[in-house]
Structures are given as structure tokens and as C-alpha cells.
């Protein structure tokens, strides 16, 4: 009777928290397909091979080769708060495509049913009957786009939404006019690599005055082993045009790390609006940090025209390492840039993410809202730069950067950089750090709420301001990803 009793709730609580944090990665399956894969390694020959496979014009091959030569002179960035063994760039496959898809775009009927099933399993049905209502999808599998839905409907509005390779063939003048004008090939090590070897991605063009009638989205899937994914997305909104674009990503579970080095360029002309949302759920590796995707991505928007607006919203839950700073160059007068981010790191995941807002035009405004959640031994770094150039009279920025810690072995860091070169600029920065406390969990459990639900509730509350920026379907997806129940808040 007097033997010490171990209270059962101690174990229960630890398990419940553990269960919340260790939900299975459901997208971790592999699709078996015959592929057209170039041998491992990178050289000018590899690039010529990729370019030839895609039947590209000479100017694009030259552009790639030029980028490759730049890349050879560069070294990987080391300033980020992430650590990993050096990557052997000769041990990566730079091009892998499902075999059936050799001759460019085909109708959906000709797409390998195994591929359609893969995307269906991931919740992205591509065939006519089950298409996502109101969302046009470009599905990218390893190095190529396998299908783009609603192309005809969009075409009636003069909108171009297709794979990058297709755009090179059908709209070479547009691609040539805008490619590399926001992220030049020599911008940074990974952008240079991407420019040399990029395989596919999405191209969007919204002509003058057109409001895109549906959400556009790209779903990226890494499947093949030892393969890097280097996609390139280019979105152009002409004067007065607007578009909302979504991006989702998953990969199989593997013990080896895989490299994903994408480039995204957005261009908004006068009065144009681009809203770019990402739910990133690349495989994060197992709980001991084995495997997972290295997500080294350069995303930048150019508010080239007056009164234009570019908004980035990202929910980053996957990847072993995330190195990503979606930024906005506020070139046009009265242009607006937004960055809304939720980044969750668990187990041994590392995220070094943030944004740059470069104010060049007059009366430009930007908002940065970053929510970092660290659990397990995860490390979460926010890096924000706000630069106000000497021309940017009346520039304003508001930055809020909140960190939530779950447990006591995780870490959160914030590195804000502010450079103001105009006396009229107003730049405000707020930061908070909080921890989900044992007292909060106990309080909820005393009301009959399980520890998982309590954590979900707190995490969901913490992220609410960012989730409400996401299009409806993605908000739901994001909540699910964070283990939050779908039951909405009343009132």
C-alpha cells in the first residue's frame, strides 16, 4: 500500500504528446514505374542531354550552360543555421521521367494509369470526373509534368497554365522575356544549379486585366531514388491581372537524403496581384534524423508595377532541412508585399526560413508574419530582412515573429536585419516566444480534453492568423498536417 505509485497519467500524457508529434507520414509510398533516367553525375554533357530530351531551343541550352559555368565557380552557402554532411553533386540523378511520357504533353487518356493512381492516392485526382472543384492542377512527377487540368477552360480567358517544358515550346517569347529576370542564374549556389539542370515545373501567364477564375496549383512529387528535383516555376501577371496559386509537395520515405532545389519567380505588373501559397510536406526523415528531403529553394517575387501586390503564404511541415526565403522586391510605387509563414520542426528537422522585403518604390508596404513551432529536437530559425532603399520614401514594414516551443529539447532563433536608408520609413518589429506548458495541458485534460487535442488546439490557435490567409482547401490540409481536428471554432 505504501509502495510508490507511479501515476498512470504521466505515461499517458507523454504517449499522447508523442503520438501527436509522431503521426505517420502517409505520403511515404513509392510508385513502381519504368523510367527514362540519365546516369548519375553532372557535367556539360548531362545538361545537353536534359536539354535534348526536352527538345529545347539553343538559346535555352546556352542559358543553362552559362548558369552551369557560374555554378562551377560558386560554393554552397554556409551562413544558415543548419548542419548536414557535404552533398556529393556527382552522386545525384539529374533527370528521371516516367517512360510513357517521352514526347511532351499528351491528353489525360494517354497518361500512365499508375501515375493517375499515385496522384489520386495523394488526394489530387486528375481525371475528368474527380477533378478538384475550382482548382486547376499541374502534376509534376520527378522531373516532368504529367498532366495539367482545365487547360482549355483557362485558355478561353487567354490564361496560359502548363508545364514549363510545354511553355518553352508554345510560348517561347514569353518564357524568354521573363525567365531569370527575378532570380538571375548566378543569384546563389542552388539557384545556379537549378538554372543549369531544371527539368520541369509550371508556367503561368495571366494577360492584362484578367482575374483568373479558379485556383491554380502544382503538385510536386518526388518518386525516383537518388534523384534530385529541380523544378522551376514562373508566374507572370500583366497589368490589372490577378491569380491565386497553390503548391503542394510530398516524397516517399527513404533512408537517403534527397535534394530539392527549386526556383520560383513571380512578376506582377501595374495593379496586378499574385497570391502564392505553399503547403510543403516533403518527407522529413525518421525520428532519428535518417533520410528526408533537403529543401533548398529560392523564391522571389517582383512587384514590378505600381500598386501591385505579391503575397507569400507557406506552411512548412516537411523536409529534413529547409532553406527558404520567399522574398518580394517592391519596385513599383505603392506596391505591397506579404509573407505569412508557419514552419514546424520536429525530431531532428532543421528549418532556416524567412523572407526579404526590399523596398525600392515610394509608399511601398510590407508585412511579415512568421510562426515557428519547434518540437522534439527540432531547430527553427527565422531570418528576416527589411531593406528600405534611398528612393523608398514613405516605406512601411510590420514584422511579427512568434515562436512556440513544445518540450524542452527544441530551439528557436530569430535573426531580424533592418537596413533603412530613408528617414521617412517606418519599420516595426515584434517577437514573442512561448512554450506549451505542462500547466496548460493539465488544465485542458482536467476538462476532459486529451493532451493531443490540447496541443492541436494551442498549435492551431497559434497559427490561426496564417491559416486564414490560405485558400480554404489548403487551410484544411494545413490543419490536418498539424494534427488539428477539423472541428471549427464556434462564433
Amino acid at each position: 500500500m505504501n509502495a510508490p505509485l507511479s501515476p498512470p497519467s504521466a505515461a499517458t500524457r507523454a504517449d499522447a504528446l508523442g503520438a501527436f508529434l509522431e503521426q505517420d507520414y502517409t505520403a511515404g509510398f513509392e510508385t513502381r514505374l519504368e523510367t527514362d533516367t540519365v546516369p548519375k553525375g553532372l557535367s556539360e554533357d548531362t545538361i545537353r542531354l536534359i536539354s535534348a530530351r526536352k527538345g529545347e531551343p539553343d538559346w535555352l541550352l546556352d542559358w543553362r550552360l552559362e548558369a552551369y559555368r557560374r555554378w562551377l565557380t560558386m560554393t554552397p552557402p554556409t551562413w544558415a543555421a543548419v548542419s548536414f554532411p557535404p552533398i556529393d553533386f556527382q552522386d545525384i540523378v539529374y533527370y528521371s521521367a516516367p517512360k510513357s511520357k517521352k514526347d511532351g504533353p499528351k491528353s489525360l487518356d494517354e497518361v500512365d494509369p499508375e501515375l493517375l493512381r499515385t496522384f489520386e492516392k495523394l488526394g489530387v485526382p486528375l481525371h475528368e470526373r474527380a477533378r478538384l472543384a475550382g482548382v486547376a492542377v499541374d502534376a509534376v512527377f520527378d522531373s516532368v509534368s504529367v498532366a495539367t487540368t482545365f487547360q482549355k477552360e483557362l485558355g478561353e480567358h487567354g490564361i496560359v497554365f502548363c508545364s514549363f517544358s510545354e511553355a518553352v515550346k508554345t510560348h517561347p517569347e514569353l518564357v524568354r522575356q521573363y525567365l531569370g529576370t527575378v532570380v538571375p542564374p548566378g543569384d546563389n549556389f542552388y539557384a545556379a544549379l537549378n538554372s543549369a539542370v531544371f527539368s520541369d515545373g509550371s508556367f503561368v501567364f495571366i494577360p492584362k486585366g484578367v482575374k483568373c477564375p479558379m485556383e491554380l496549383s502544382t503538385y510536386f512529387r518526388i518518386n525516383a531514388r537518388d534523384t534530385g528535383q529541380f523544378e522551376r516555376t514562373l508566374i507572370v501577371a500583366e497589368e490589372g491581372a490577378s491569380v491565386s496559386y497553390l503548391e503542394g509537395c510530398t516524397a516517399p520515405m527513404r533512408d537517403e537524403n534527397q535534394l530539392h532545389a527549386a526556383v520560383v519567380e513571380l512578376i506582377a505588373l501595374d495593379d496586378a496581384k499574385i497570391k502564392y501559397s505553399t503547403v510543403q510536406n516533403w518527407y522529413p526523415g525518421d525520428k532519428d534524423g535518417k533520410g528526408g528531403i533537403y529543401n533548398f529553394v529560392t523564391k522571389r517575387g517582383d512587384c514590378r508595377g505600381a500598386r501591385s501586390r505579391i503575397s507569400w503564404t507557406q506552411v512548412e511541415t516537411g523536409s529534413a532541412i529547409t532553406w527558404k526565403y520567399p522574398s518580394v522586391i517592391l519596385r513599383g510605387d505603392d506596391s505591397v508585399g506579404d509573407f505569412h509563414s508557419v514552419a514546424l520542426t520536429n525530431n531532428l528537422q532543421q528549418a532556416d526560413t524567412g523572407t526579404k522585403m526590399i523596398h525600392m518604390g515610394r509608399n511601398t508596404r510590407s508585412t511579415i508574419l512568421s510562426k515557428g513551432i519547434s518540437a522534439g529536437r527540432g531547430s527553427n530559425t527565422f531570418r528576416g530582412m527589411v531593406r528600405v532603399t534611398p528612393r523608398a520614401e514613405g516605406a512601411r514594414n510590420y514584422t511579427q515573429c512568434d515562436s512556440l516551443l513544445i518540450g524542452d529539447r527544441c530551439a528557436a532563433h530569430t535573426f531580424p536585419t533592418i537596413e533603412v536608408r530613408h528617414p521617412s520609413a517606418r519599420v516595426e518589429h515584434e517577437a514573442t516566444t512561448s512554450r506549451i506548458g505542462e500547466d496548460q495541458l493539465f488544465y485542458a485534460m482536467q476538462r476532459g480534453i486529451s493532451a493531443e487535442d490540447a496541443v492541436s488546439m494551442i498549435v492551431n490557435g497559434f497559427c490561426r492568423e496564417v491559416f486564414k490567409e490560405l485558400p480554404m482547401e489548403f487551410a484544411v490540409e494545413a490543419q490536418k498536417l498539424l494534427g488539428v481536428s477539423l472541428e471549427g471554432s464556434v462564433g
Binding site: 497519467s9 485534460m445 476538462r447 476532459g448 490557435g461 471554432s489
Partner: protein
């Protein structure tokens, strides 16, 4: 019925409850008084299943169930409610969302249909009126920025919504002005019923002017050292806690060596 038998509990190896015995029958209201640091909140938290406290001996039987074997949330779902001495703030979670999740967790457990948003709102608004809380408190984060009195009312509101079988109120009266005190007492009295028992922990006898207990117990150094009727509270008020401590030290420490 709740039967606490020779309960010992410690925190970080430091013994706090040293052989506590208490029986509360269905429908009864018991008051527990005692000086600061005597272990009142520890008793409340141990009953509710907080694992920062280690039970080092004894047993608690609740209607034939081994209470100490249940995890905290199951105790709550089975009808044990604790009104916290220091209600916890949960930033970013609206009070409405939290209350609805709690009510529905308990309704699910009882095999009742869950409330939808409409049912819940009409129910919660009625209860809020009864405890004198404005509707805006539904849409604020749980306890965040609430005054001391508002937090205590929020506890009474939750108690009313969750309809517990056993309610433990830990100094719900502390820091309240007389009007708030009356509202809290009314909340408690409204819930009194033959099936429901309550343990009302208080530092001051004045609460017992409004909530008339069946029994009063005095806790000192982790044990109940005196039990009696209402008059014990008045006696205590008159002589102060020093009177009890003097008596406790003189009395043989029965059961205190068990841990």
C-alpha cells in the same frame, strides 16, 4: 462516494500529504480549511491527477473505482471537476472553442450527442448570464488577460457546463469582492444535488456564510487534524490557525509515518 485512505503525496521528493483520510458521501458538501502551505492545493491536484505530484502511498476509492489508476482526462470525463486556484491562460485558443471541446469530450464519454455550435452557444450564454459574465468572454483567449475575479467566474461557468459528479473548488473565493463571492456561492448552491458532492477549499470562513457545508475539516502539515460542523469554521476564525498547529503538534501523528 469518495473515500481517501491514508493518502501520501510528494513533490520532488518532498512529502506534502502525510496520511490524509477523508470520506465524502454523495450529495454532501465538505469544506477544507487550513493555513497556507498545509497541502490543500496538493490534495486537489492529486485528486485531479496532476503528475507533477507523486502519490507515495494510500488509496482513493471513488464509487468503487480506483481513482488514482485513472489518467487525468478520464477522471474529468467520469465527472471529477477541479476549479483551479490559479486558472491557466491559454493564448490563441478562444474560450468558446475550449469550452465546447470540453463539454463535448464529456458528453461523448457519457454517451450523449455532442452539441453543435448553435446548441452550445445557447447553453453557454444562459450559463454565462447566471455567473454574470459578458458574452465577449467567449471570444477571448482562455483566461488571457482576465482579472482574478473573471478567472474565478470562468471556473464556475465551466463547472456549471460540465455538470460534475464531484467538484473540488480550490480557493475559488480568494481575492473576490463580496458581490463576486455571492455569485460564486450561488453557482455552487445551484449545483447542489443528492448525487453531486463537493469539496470546497477555502482560507476564510466567510465563504461558508453562503455555502453551508455538511462538514468542515482542518488540514495541517498534510493531514486532517480536526473535523466538525460549521461551528469549527467559526472557531477557527476566532482563534486563528496557530491554534490548530499548536494542537496538531501536541497530538500523536497517527498514520504520518506510513509514507
Amino acid at each position: 462516494m469518495l473515500k481517501i485512505d491514508n493518502l501520501h503525496a510528494a513533490v520532488d521528493g518532498k512529502a506534502i500529504l502525510n496520511g490524509l483520510n477523508l470520506e465524502v458521501k454523495d450529495g454532501e458538501v465538505h469544506a477544507i480549511m487550513g493555513p497556507n502551505g498545509s497541502g490543500k492545493s496538493t490534495l486537489a491536484q492529486v485528486l485531479a491527477g496532476r503528475d507533477t505530484f507523486q502519490v507515495t502511498g494510500g488509496a482513493v476509492d471513488w464509487d468503487g473505482t480506483d481513482l488514482l489508476a485513472l489518467p487525468a482526462e478520464e477522471r474529468a470525463r467520469a465527472g471529477l471537476f477541479l476549479a483551479f486556484q490559479y486558472p491557466v491562460e491559454i493564448p490563441g485558443v478562444s474560450n468558446a472553442y475550449f469550452l465546447k471541446a470540453a463539454v463535448n469530450a464529456i458528453r461523448r464519454h457519457r454517451g450523449l450527442p455532442e452539441y453543435d455550435a448553435m446548441d452550445f452557444l445557447s447553453r453557454v450564454k444562459a450559463e454565462m448570464k447566471a455567473v454574470g459574465m459578458r458574452e465577449e468572454f467567449l471570444y477571448r483567449s482562455v483566461n488571457e488577460g482576465f482579472s482574478g475575479g473573471e478567472k474565478k467566474r470562468n471556473e464556475v461557468l465551466q463547472m456549471a457546463l460540465l455538470e460534475p459528479k464531484l467538484a473540488v473548488l480550490d480557493e475559488t473565493d480568494s481575492g473576490l469582492d463580496i458581490d463576486a463571492l455571492r455569485i460564486v456561492a450561488e453557482g455552487v448552491n445551484r449545483l447542489r444535488s443528492p448525487e453531486r458532492s463537493m469539496i470546497v477549499i477555502t482560507h476564510y470562513q466567510r465563504l461558508l456564510d453562503y455555502i453551508v457545508p455538511d462538514q468542515v475539516h482542518v488540514l495541517s502539515h498534510g493531514r486532517i487534524v480536526r473535523s466538525g460542523g460549521r461551528e469549527l469554521a467559526l472557531e477557527l476564525e476566532e482563534h486563528g490557525y496557530g491554534w490548530i498547529d499548536a494542537g496538531a503538534k501536541a497530538a500523536p501523528a497517527t498514520g504520518a509515518t506510513g509514507g
